[in-house]
């Protein structure tokens, strides 16, 4: 009886080992990739939720700060009594506002009577201010001028000597404003009528925001945050683009995964592989001893050497079978000698 090479236990073991390693590698890469995607998506979702909460708080704080500043500013103007007496002296109030410099929150303002007629108009920075329409009960609104500059307008009553009028305070929602509230690795842009009007990164930021808002579905870290306001009133939308890096870097992750596979391969080889190879060599030696005995019909030195190699100083089942084979060979030799 002879066994061809491709049916040998060594080639069977080799194929099985390679196959097992391929299955293991495939499953490890698959699980690793799923983990990689899930971890990054979870981190980005978490980052987006935190950023959204952060900017919601920032907006609330800003609204409170502007409200306080507007009220204090109104009180300061009223306490100067510019509108008391019969003669209106706009020069005095304009000189007063000029001397305030840029120290107030609102670089532009307008004072109107209750019928909407402008009494005083002041712009610290040269601006073209548009007419502002308020809805019933609305204390603040938004207006965009001809130069595409958006203003947050806060309106409140102001005493004009004989009757109340309105003080309209204009806060510019410009690049500078967004730069002040942005944080590293984030680009903010403010949108009005589906067009960007300001960006925390200046002119370049506006162009990039226009491109990226169309690809927003591909990027989980970017989100839109409508500015809160009175129901049915139009408000701008804050577009937050987070340049935050993924939790796991793909290259680093791939190197780590490859390292795990190499370590696993080395561990398997050093523990199972070498032991399995030694075992197979012993079985092959036993097989060879049988083959030689079959051809020679005697237990000579070559058969002895192969049997010793099969035992290999081990006390296990292969050694037991080898010793049994040796006894069987000796019995056959004795029987043949008697016959």
């Amino acid at each position: 009886l002879s066994i061809s090479v491709n049916q040998s236990i060594l080639s069977q073991a080799r194929y099985r080992l390679v196959f097992a390693f391929l299955i293991f590698s495939f499953l490890t890469i698959l699980v690793g990739f799923i983990f990689f995607k899930a971890a990054n998506m979870s981190a980005l979702d978490n980052h987006r939720v935190k950023a959204s909460r952060h900017y919601s708080n920032v907006i609330s704080n800003l609204e409170r700060r502007w409200g306080r500043a507007a009220f204090n500013f109104k009180i300061r103007i009223e306490s100067e009594k510019f509108f008391d007496g019969n003669t209106k002296n706009n020069d005095r109030i304009l000189a007063y506002l000029t001397a305030q410099g840029g120290s107030t929150e609102f670089p532009s303002l307008r004072i109107e009577d209750v019928r909407g007629k402008t009494i005083v108009s002041y712009e610290y920075v040269a601006e073209t201010l548009s007419k502002v329409d308020f809805m019933l009960g609305q204390e603040s609104t938004w207006v965009i001028n001809s130069e595409n500059k958006l203003f947050h307008v806060i309106r409140q009553l102001i005493w004009l000597g004989k009757e109340n009028g309105y003080l309209l305070l204009f806060y510019p929602m410009d690049n500078a404003f967004l730069s002040q509230i942005s944080y590293p690795d984030a680009r903010l842009s403010l949108w009005w009528n589906e067009k960007p009007v300001a960006s925390s990164e200046g002119e370049e930021g506006l162009s990039l925001a226009e491109i990226n808002i169309n690809n927003m579905s591909h990027d989980r870290s970017n989100f839109l945050l409508p500015w809160p306001g009175v129901e049915n009133a139009k408000t701008p939308i804050l577009f937050v683009e987070s340049n935050s890096h993924s939790l796991l870097d793909f290259q680093k992750f791939a190197v780590a995964l490859a390292s795990v596979l190499i370590i696993f391969l080395f561990s398997c080889w050093s523990t199972l592989g070498t032991w399995g190879l030694r075992t197979i060599v012993r079985i092959q030696a036993l097989d060879k001893a049988h083959m030689n005995f079959h051809v020679l019909h005697k237990v000579d030195e070559t058969v002895d050497t192969e049997l010793e190699a099969a035992i290999a100083y081990q006390n296990d089942e292969i050694s037991s079978v080898t010793l049994a084979s040796e006894r069987m060979m000796n019995n056959i030799m004795v029987k043949e000698a008697i016959n």
């Binding site: 020069d91 000189a95 007063y96 000029t98 410099g101 610290y124 920075v125 500078a176």
Partner: protein, 326 residues
Amino acid sequence: LVLLITLQAHSEVLRISISVPGPGAASYLPIELVSKIGADKAEGAELRVSFSPGGENSLTEMLTNNTDFALVGLPSAMSARLKDPRIIALAAINDLPLYVLMVRQGLIGEVKGVADLKGKSIGLHSNSTTLKTTSQQVLELIFRRSGVSVGSYRTVTVGRRWGSEPLMLKTGTVDALIADEPNATQMVEDKIAFKLLHLGDPETMRLYSGSGFLRGTLIGRKDRLESDPKKYEIMVRIIKRTLQWMATHSSEEILDKLEISSPDKRKQLISLFNKYPRQYSIDGKFSSRQLRETEIFFIDSQNGNLSAEAFRIESMVYDRWVGRKD
């Protein structure tokens, strides 16, 4: 196809913005001229000019991303540079600084010299304790040299607008201020104020050494220069083109381009251009001599500020595109 080419060409226009004190300040007129003569379009760009009440505001506009560049007095930019190393100087716009110390008409006879302004209210184009505008530095230097110390007068902010300076003098909110031309001449004609001292006069320049400093300068940001050097190079080319155009055209042609039609205003500006032909740089080049003089003026006007004394102007001058002259 023509439409596509037109759209493509339009989309490739480089948008550039700059903040300038004004409008109407004679020293900064070259910037108002840029788009009128098409210097920006010739370089494939579109320049948007936004006006501010003073140099400090213009620098803030640039540093907070509202504009790409600022055009301010170099001493003002040096003062800002002490706190912000991003600030760099790119091209000289002016040659001769023209500042006028104006006193309100009501004080004629009472105020005959700078020393008489002790205890008065003085208007500044400044609203910050962290940055001194060029006009503030000029004022403090003139006052100190005349024996009027910084603590012996009151300061009030005045905006650099056509209307704000006369308003502040007329209402008596300020007694004196540093004004620009042609606003200063206009205030004299309107009998709102009189000129006490003109920095462009040779006699004043002799008395106040260092007053030949570099004023109007194109200012940019180092971080932006590194991220977008092309935009910076184009902006400098636009400035050079504009200054060269001004140097080769008559005062009348300049005013025509600026669409200044008021006969009075034209007369004032033509007189100013003729009287001070050195007001504008002809090529945007930095002059080594003027930079040294600016450094002396800056250190002198800062009086005892150790960081100003240690500051060297060359650290912020970026003359790669404009070049240098003696």
